[in-house]
């Protein structure tokens, strides 16, 4: 019999430090599959700022550099401008991209920087222990919203994809989820397209990924995967939010 599914070449052998069922692991897997399929291993450079994925460089077998919390888009801008031949992506959590790094992200997008943001929306601050994120849902309990997020005090879950779609320099924005076989395949397609947009020099691309965090949601992995469908997508609907290419993706 033929082996039809195996570990991607650009994924190091190191076991993930992520919790069981974590969406970071799935995302790393599909990204490294794509890097192999698109033959990008020797020209891709990844920027993972602090967040649970700060150690992403232990897994991606490509050039990678840490950045300060929230500054990924600025670091990627400098890197890409200095070396335009590279394929540059940031890999940012919701705290990173949608709170501390909002300015960097919006302006990199507005300048149409030819970079790709992989935006992990897990509705919490994972690394620091489950505090409220800007994307935390209303009435969702976190360690800093112990009574549930209250819009009168904490405001509303912020929709970065919709905000960035309004910015002229963005070329491609899609929201996906990594919580079912079909969704994972769609997520992979979206990231492929985002990389292609960068290869074609069309401007800023971002894929927002609704990503399970069973640990801080205090759920089993399977429950957390279901919760995305049952609850999270109601606030964060899936689909292409902006696409200037006009092309339907060929897969």
């Amino acid at each position: 019999m033929k082996k039809i599914y195996t570990r991607p070449k650009s994924l190091k052998r190191t076991p993930f430090h992520y919790c069981p069922g974590c969406g970071h692991s799935i995302t790393h897997k599909i990204m490294t599959e794509l890097i192999d399929e698109m033959n990008l291993q020797d020209k891709t450079i990844g920027i993972p700022p602090p967040g649970c994925s700060v150690f992403a460089y232990n897994y991606f077998d490509i050039d990678m550099a840490e950045s300060a919390h929230g500054r990924g888009a600025a670091v990627a801008t400098g890197l890409k401008r200095a070396y335009p031949e590279a394929i540059v992506f940031t890999y940012q959590g919701d705290g990173d991209l949608a709170a501390i790094g909002t300015a960097e992200t919006i302006h990199a997008s507005n300048r149409g920087e030819n970079i790709t943001a992989i935006f992990i929306n897990n509705a919490v601050y994972g690394m620091t222990g489950g505090q409220m994120a800007p994307t935390t849902l209303l009435s969702q309990k976190t360690t800093t919203t112990p009574y549930g997020r209250d819009d009168k005090i904490e405001g509303y879950p912020i929709k970065m994809s919709e905000i960035l779609a309004l910015v002229k320099g963005s070329a491609y924005i899609e929201r996906v989820a990594v919580n079912s076989p079909a969704n994972i395949i769609k997520a992979k397609k979206a990231i492929r397209k985002a990389f292609q947009v960068q290869i074609d020099c069309l401007g800023f691309s971002m894929v927002e990924i609704l990503s399970p965090c069973p640990t801080n949601w205090k759920m089993s992995p399977v429950e957390s995967w279901k919760w995305i469908d049952e609850v999270m997508v109601k606030e964060f609907p899936l689909g292409v939010i902006k696409d200037i290419t006009g092309k339907k993706d060929a897969g």
């Binding site: 019999m1 039809i4 069922g21 799935i26 897997k29 994972i184 069973p214 399977v222």
Partner: protein, 69 residues
């Protein structure tokens, strides 16, 4: 037998995602602990596996290899 899978006992974290999604109910959780202390998933080889690779697509740990013939 159309397909079979191999589960890497070291990488598996016993999340049961594969168990939940396998359309044929081919994967069970077990009492076996791996070196990291996770209860690993086991392939319940009763020849109904189609090699569809759904389990591998959803496995966060990239612990599953799929064979089809």
């Amino acid at each position: 037998m159309k397909g079979y899978i191999e589960i890497d006992q070291v990488l598996c974290k016993g999340c049961e995602i594969c168990t939940f999604f396998c359309p044929k109910g081919m994967i069970n959780s077990s009492d076996k602990l791996n070196p990291s202390g996770y209860r690993v998933a086991v392939f319940n080889d009763n020849s109904e596996c189609t090699g569809c690779a759904i389990c591998a697509v959803v496995c966060p740990e990239v612990a599953i290899e799929v064979y089809r013939g």
